[in-house]
């Protein structure tokens, strides 16, 4: 279909300016590459509890985010992830202080009054001695989780989530659109709520507090509903959901492949997880996966959608992915070769040292900051 045939009816006049290339071609990195890089750094973080290495990992990802983050609404989520990571850190430490920990320790930092608990709560302790060893253990442990969170935040800030969803196979396209629309609705909802709270102030009612928020709830939802109806109308009028004619045989094959494939995946997983299914588990799982993928691919025939300028998976995408995977692989290797350096002792308490070659390996993760294009600077246009 299409293939340029549709361009015939109306073409731009000869006098129209020739399509000029913009100042610079779009050179965005494939969003999948950013996610793989960030998840690989996160994997690396799970291999170690050395706070120095973890701090180095956080610094590495933060540096890349700072230099390569585009100026777009979605990229502001990094701050939220950093705050979340800090909250995890503090909560973990607070638990270690209040509930104590099974880590034996000799360096008492402070002693809290212990709350006597009844017999049935045996094994739980409230208050009591807080040792430096327990604190250090909790800190290392929490730092690992916090690093993982910050790495995920980096992926969120660097890669446009809707472009990532655009890379979905054709059959899943409609699902992707639903997610994208939902993603863009959240900021609209917040803006609506702010506007309506301001309007409460204009009516002479207090605009702060929970009551103010509750009262605007209904109008906000009403507005969101109206907006989604308007959007649905606009999307319909722009051709969303047009389908191609598919012969019934293909339709039936698609359904059979997808359903059979999913059943196969379920059976295979069950087989893998149960003791006696060791023999048939893997082959059934693989066959199921293949059938499901074939179904998806065949289902893609029903949508006549084409894709505008998909992000190419180019050499840079390989480099970025490879740099992340290298960090993860080298730290995994280091964890098996030199566990002492990557998991500094807590009992007895020793100061962690920075193992040299694993640290150098983490620095490979900085590569994207040099091989990817700098984001274009955009300033906000005045809006009413």
């Amino acid at each position: 279909m299409g293939e340029g045939g549709r361009s015939g009816t109306l073409t731009a006049p000869e006098s129209a300016p020739t399509p000029a290339q913009p100042q610079r071609p779009r050179t965005q990195l494939h969003p999948g590459a950013w996610w793989l890089w960030a998840l690989a750094l996160g994997t690396a973080a799970t291999r170690t509890t050395n706070p120095l290495l973890l701090a180095l990992l956080v610094t590495t990802s933060a540096y890349v985010v700072a230099t390569r983050r585009p100026h777009a609404p979605w990229s502001r989520s990094y701050g939220a992830f950093v705050k979340l990571a800090l909250a995890v850190l503090l909560i973990r430490l607070a638990f270690a202080v209040v509930l104590g920990s099974p880590i034996p320790g000799t360096h008492t930092v402070l002693t809290l009054p212990e709350v006597p608990l009844p017999d049935w709560a045996q094994g739980i302790r409230l208050g009591g001695r807080v040792t430096a060893e327990a604190l250090a253990f909790a800190l290392y442990d929490a730092l690992r989780l916090a690093t993982l969170l910050i790495c995920v935040g980096a992926a969120n800030a660097l890669a446009n989530p809707s472009r990532l969803l655009k890379s979905l196979p054709g059959a899943l396209y409609e699902l992707g659109v639903a997610v994208v629309v939902a993603l863009t609705f959240a900021p609209h909802l917040i803006a609506d709520a702010q506007r309506l709270r301001a309007a409460r102030r204009l009516r002479g009612r207090p605009d702060k507090g929970v009551r103010g928020l509750l009262h605007v709830g209904l109008p906000v939802l009403e507005g969101a509903l109206e907006r989604s109806v308007a959007l649905a109308a606009a999307m319909d009028a722009r051709g969303y959901g047009r389908t191609a004619e598919v012969p019934p045989a293909v339709r039936r094959t698609t359904a059979a492949l997808t359903l059979g494939g999913l059943l196969g995946v379920c059976a295979g997983t069950y087989g893998l997880l149960t003791a006696e299914g060791g023999t048939y588990g893997v082959p059934v799982l693989l066959a199921g996966l293949a059938a499901a993928l074939a179904g998806l691919r065949l289902g893609g025939r029903r949508t006549l959608r084409t894709r505008y300028r998909p992000d190419p998976w180019d050499a840079r995408a390989w480099l970025v992915t490879a740099s992340g995977v290298a960090v993860a692989a080298l730290l995994t290797l280091a964890a098996s070769r030199d566990p002492a350096a990557l998991h500094p002792g807590v009992v007895p308490l020793v100061a962690p040292t920075l193992p040299l070659w694993p640290a150098a390996a983490v620095l490979i993760g900085l590569l994207p900051a040099f091989v990817t294009p700098a984001p274009a600077s955009t300033r906000k246009e005045p809006t009413t």
Partner: protein
């Protein structure tokens, strides 16, 4: 290209048809303007072209609508997507993706065009609409005019043969509106696109129309004719037509240029009349203050109701206002004008304490707005926001009025009495949502006025109002001003400013660039001058009613 054959549309649960017996044809390559008062079914007719009526809205459509030979009864909107492009009133509710380039490509992706065709058309459209510099920008960071152009571009890329637009310029400042209309004209002239467009602000669009379809009233048959024919009898008309009818010009001029050619005799007749000065309650400033900042140098005869001193406001890391001075005296009407995003709304928000100043000071009466409790502030200053519906929470008009009395601690019945005075026809049990745009604005106005604030602020009050509703609003606001209310309104509507304002304050990039009597400021600026001023320049007439007065 578009054929309506005896079309009537009846929505579910409504006894009367929204449009009745519509029968006309829009020929290929013409720009047809759909005009008429509010509520005559303009949007219904536009929706019927794209198939959204009745496939999406529900209701029953009798008769037949064909677009490029396709019957909308058998074709769903998505199956018409390659021949009809539709842009609604609010561009923001139209966008599916988040950047300009992706938005332009979206429609083509749905139609399954080949990647190289898509690429070429996106580039062409970027150039055609002057969007090339904005191609990678997130849509939410664009200004109103830019968003409207992106919305038009996004339906242009599939090369529809018909373009349907519902009030494309109502939210735009005069300059941005001209940009959008220039693009439309180019499409019609260069690409042969057929355009069907509804618009209330006829003074902006009438000169671009090849034909005008007039819907004189609800349920009446539309009438298609040349713009001059239709304008001679239409109940809605721009000031240039009003002036032409007054001076008995024939054929009726539709553009300022045509009118100027005919206006020489009128100018001589008016030469020995003095245009009435808009009654200014304060002594006029002694020196010409155009393009100078206001200085509070002249002696105040009365205490100002609001005073702004070197105000600066930052919003989202953007300097929204810098070094703004403004003094508002009782009984004075001020129009705040300027581009979309020049800081008009921010200045109004600062006056009601919705935003805190970064530096400088704001006082309304004896209060500092952002530090005053809302309950006390409503008695000093009231704002009718851009979307009056934001102010209304209740299910019925009566409940809304009762709530307003409680909020303002006014005796019960105050708000309802005000509303009856402003809008006699509205029933107590109507839901605010079912009111027309103009009625809703009036209800919000009554709610705000219940607390009797000496300072009344209005943000874009004429957006979506037809000429009749606008005339009613002008009358109401004149009455309030003569009672001593000070009024500050942010508006793109130059005709409204000319009718009402004693003073015009022009803002650009958050700074005051002009502040002076309306006649001086608007006449000096080509984009903000009302049509009558352009026609009768160099004489300083601003409105048709002034001329009518003088000729009597």
């Amino acid at each position: 290209m578009i054929r309506f054959e005896n079309v009537s549309v009846t929505y579910d649960g409504v006894p009367e048809p929204a449009v009745h017996d519509v029968d006309f044809e829009v020929p290929e390559g013409e720009l047809v303007l759909l005009v008429g008062p509010s509520g005559v079914g303009k949007s219904t007719i536009l929706g019927a072209v794209s198939g959204l009526v009745p496939h999406f809205t529900g209701g029953t459509l009798h008769g037949r609508v064909t677009v490029a030979g396709r019957d909308t009864r058998t074709h769903k909107p998505r199956e018409l997507a390659d021949v009809v492009g539709t842009v609604g009133q609010d561009p923001l509710s139209h966008f599916v993706t988040d950047t300009v380039e992706d938005e332009l490509a979206y429609g083509m992706e749905s139609l399954g065009l080949a990647p190289d065709v898509m690429r070429r058309r996106v580039e062409e459209t970027l150039d055609l609409l002057g969007l090339a510099d904005l191609r990678h920008r997130p849509i939410s960071t664009l200004s109103g005019g830019q968003q409207q152009r992106v919305a038009i571009g996004s339906v242009l890329t599939p090369h529809p043969r018909v373009l349907v637009l519902d009030e494309p310029t109502s939210a735009l400042d005069p300059v941005a509106a001209e940009e959008v209309l220039a693009v439309l004209q180019r499409l019609v002239h260069d690409l042969g696109t057929t355009v069907l467009m509804a618009e209330h602000r006829l003074e902006r669009v009438i000169q671009y129309a090849d034909q005008v379809a007039l819907l004189p009233g609800p349920g009446e048959r539309p009438w298609l004719g040349t713009p001059a024919e239709v304008m001679a009898v239409s109940p809605v008309y721009p000031p240039v037509v009003d002036l032409g009818r007054l001076a008995d010009w024939s054929p009726l001029p539709l553009t300022v240029r045509d009118a100027r050619r005919k206006a020489a005799p009128l100018r001589t007749r008016l030469a020995h009349h003095e245009p009435p000065q808009q009654h200014d309650p304060t002594p006029p400033p002694p020196t010409r203050r155009l393009f100078k900042r206001t200085k509070p140098d002249h002696a105040m005869t009365t205490a100002p109701v609001a005073e702004v001193r070197s105000l600066a406001v930052r919003r989202d890391r953007v300097q929204a206002l810098r070094d703004v001075d403004l003094t508002v005296t009782p009984g004075e009407t001020i129009a705040l004008m300027g581009r979309n995003g020049a800081g008009k709304s921010t200045l109004l928000s600062a006056l009601v304490g919705l935003v805190a100043p970064a530096s400088g000071s704001v006082r309304t009466g004896d209060a500092i707005p952002h530090r005053t409790r809302p309950r006390d502030l409503v008695r000093r200053v009231g704002l009718v926001p851009q979307e009056p519906r934001d102010l209304l929470y209740a299910d019925t008009v009566a409940a809304e009025c009762a709530a307003a009395d409680r909020d303002a601690e006014a005796p019960p019945g105050t708000c309802r009495a005000l509303l009856t005075e402003l809008l006699p026809s509205v029933a107590d049990d109507t839901h605010p949502r079912d009111l027309s745009e103009g009625q809703r604005l009036t209800l919000a106005l009554a709610v705000v006025l219940t607390a009797r604030p000496p300072l009344l602020l209005l943000d874009e009050p004429t957006r979506g109002l037809d000429y009749a509703a606008k005339a009613r609003l002008v009358k109401i606001l004149r009455g309030l001003a003569s009672e001593g209310h000070a009024i500050v309104m942010a508006t793109h509507d130059v005709e409204l400013a000319a009718e009402l304002a004693h003073r015009v304050v022009l803002l650009a990039e958050g700074e005051v660039i002009a502040d002076g009597p309306s006649a001086e400021v608007v006449v000096a600026s080509p984009s903000f001058a009302p049509q009558v001023a352009k026609i009768l320049a160099p004489q300083h007439w601003l409105t048709v009613s002034q001329v009518r007065e003088a000729l009597r």
